[in-house]
Symmetry: C2
Subunit: 414 residues, 2 copies
């Protein structure tokens, strides 16, 4: 464990103590000041971002697009900060309260988690988004971004830290690791004394590495091998609209659909039309033998396909004998993110909702709705695909914990 990181952890814990006691008006004032400061520091931020882009000559275009900042994108971040300022503050809410048999008044009260660490890839906007959400929920944050975005991240974090300092607040509420080595990331995963929860944000490789190595509690986010099952009682046009939307509207994100299952009774009538609509949007289809007999343009799927999250214009297709086979297939291969049944049959819908073990289970809607904003949370730090603490879209409330506050008048246990 390196000394610098221990100091960062200690500083974060001290900052968290103060954040826990900060009132909502102050937090909102600072969030708006963050937004303002991004606007006045556009040039500094863009200069830093240019350095990162200049170093990123080997990076595929898809990733440089995520890395690149523009004045518009910085304004969007500022707008995001103002939106978080406008959200209700979950801290201090009483989830429930009661009087026990001994006459104690017990309240289950929302409090910050404390210190949140985030490990993420080369997306500078995460620096600002994560800082906003953790600050609003009263948590200190330790950020460790991808090395390709280091200059951008440092510049953005410095703007926020300067605002904290100017207002006489603890700038260590937001800290960012200058050292982006794997060793230090690994040390961060073991900083149990100071870190209350670690949230990795990125691809499956990053998330698996964190789950495997971390001793601090982790919330897994973002792996989405999402399925759509077209039942024998589906409406064809609805099936086409939902499958196309779920697959092509934004194929790179975790709530995009990756798999299409279709009931054998309607495969011959519906699959050709669905496949045609997907192919018109440039989707490559991979399928099982039965689906390939029905639509000749489908190429063979391998066993690996069923568990792969493509994040691309590819979709695998399987014809199933009945709904139970679809459910079993999904429960076997899914990452537990979002699954859909398209059906006009009451019983089929109910069975699907009850038997599928995923964070979000839909009847007749697109997987793309699995999102903190679409759910109405006003913000999102990620989509949890695990079952502990938070499952599905995580907003401000999911960045808090509770404590029991108990008031007595001398009670002792008999």
């Amino acid at each position: 464990m390196n000394d610098k990181l221990l100091e960062i952890g200690k500083n974060a814990k001290a900052a968290a103590y103060k954040l826990n006691l900060m009132d909502t008006v102050t937090k909102n004032k600072i969030l708006n000041a963050f937004a303002e400061a991004l606007g006045t520091n556009v040039d500094t931020i863009l200069t830093a971002n240019q350095k990162d882009l200049a170093n990123a000559t080997d990076m595929p275009a898809k990733f440089t697009d995520r890395l690149k900042l523009t004045e518009q994108r910085i304004n969007d971040m500022a707008e995001g900060l103002r939106q978080v300022a406008a959200l209700p503050d979950p801290i201090g809410n009483i989830d429930k309260g009661w009087q026990n048999d001994a006459g104690l008044n017990i309240e289950k009260k929302r409090v910050p988690l404390g210190v949140i660490a985030m490990i993420f890839e080369a997306r500078p906007n995460v620096t600002v988004d994560a800082s906003a959400l953790t600050f609003k929920s009263g948590n200190a944050v330790i950020l460790r971004g991808g090395k390709e975005a280091l200059n951008s991240n440092l510049a953005l974090a410095q703007v926020l830290r300067d605002v904290l300092k100017t207002h006489g607040l603890d700038e260590n509420s937001i800290q960012i690791l200058h050292d982006t080595s794997h060793e230090t990331a690994n040390d961060l995963m073991h900083l149990n004394k100071y870190v209350d929860v670690l949230i990795p944000r990125g691809g499956a490789g990053l998330i698996n590495a964190v789950v495997k190595n971390a001793t601090v509690p982790v919330i897994e986010t973002g792996a989405g091998n999402c399925h759509i099952y077209v039942d024998k009682n589906a409406e064809l046009q609805m099936a086409i609209d939902i499958v196309v939307n779920a697959k092509v509207q934004r194929p790179s994100v975790c709530n995009a659909a990756e798999k299409l299952l279709i009931h054998k009774d309607v495969a011959e009538t519906m699959l050709p039309a669905i496949a045609k609509a997907l192919e018109e949007h440039g989707v490559e289809l991979r399928g099982d033998t039965t689906s390939r007999k029905i639509v000749s343009s489908i190429v063979p799927a391998t066993e690996e396909d069923w568990s792969t999250e493509y994040n691309d214009l590819i979709m695998a297709v399987k014809v199933v004998d009945d709904e139970q086979q679809a459910i079993d297939h999904i429960n076997q291969y899914s990452t537990g993110h979002s699954e859909v049944i398209i059906s006009d049959d009451y019983q089929s819908g109910q069975e699907f909702l009850n038997k599928i073990d995923s964070a979000c289970v839909y009847v007749n809607a697109s997987t793309r709705f699995t999102d903190g904003f679409e759910f109405g949370f006003g913000a999102e730090i990620g989509i949890s695909t695990q079952k502990l603490h938070a499952r599905g879209p995580m907003g401000l409330n999911e960045l808090t914990t509770t404590k029991y506050v108990i008031r007595g008048n001398g009670q002792v246990r008999k």
Copy 2:
């Protein structure tokens, strides 16, 4: 990873799928049948327990008492099963529900976690308690008890499994590891494919080993270095009653108080009386220099004392300059379980409640109330001292997770 354990994991997952769909009436019927079956199998269970006791010749008396079963203790377990049958079933509750902007009906519904693993020490009653609570909450359980209690645990689990089989249900709803080696326990901590959460129950050594090694999500329970702070505005008699109750009523459990902090303004007047009351109950006091000047029978405390959970008739005492020093001391040394202020001052109480970062924070009551039964949950699987998922006493609700159930009529994302 050994093959036998993989099979156990697979069987647990298959059983969990069926448990998820089981109605409350059936679950309650089975819980009552478990209770009945314990009664009719008293002799078999006691014979198995005799074997364990015969092997436990080197065990300290305190531990053989936990290991020993009697007809009365078996009847108590049966009564516990009937009480769990009578509790409300959390599964199927809708925590909240709303319609989003796109017209989707979203429900946040309580569902079982899936497969729960428990690693515990030589206390056979945990086999029955844990089986009851996981079964009622719709979860499959994999139990790994201490090797000293293996015969007792196997006999108890067999009684429960036979009931399941007789009723045509999946006996793998409750599984117990015959292999109590450290290697297999370690493999269980890495069974991510099948285990949704691991709950260790036992001493600090066991819990730390699990936290350090496990890759499956863990809920830490039971470490309790609990503090009582006697403020300058405390009532003496209340302070005596609470401190004595919290320390001596049951010193071996995690909600017993281990530390006494006292404001310097009242140390001279109150500490002698409190110390006298504790010493009359056989409590050894260890203290800082100031406390030893006031009460000569107090022996010196070392730095290690401040972070030690004695689980015994020992208490460490420190005189503090003011409330803030007490709060800082507690936040530094506490395990985050339960802390108490004794004070008649409104402001002091509020400050303590707000600034202490522990699962349960009290004004004017004994730490001994941190308990699922005392809280009114009707059951308890442990006391969580971590911040994710559950914090404080864990009842049936804490053995569940949620999923979002979403009903649409063809919505796609714009």
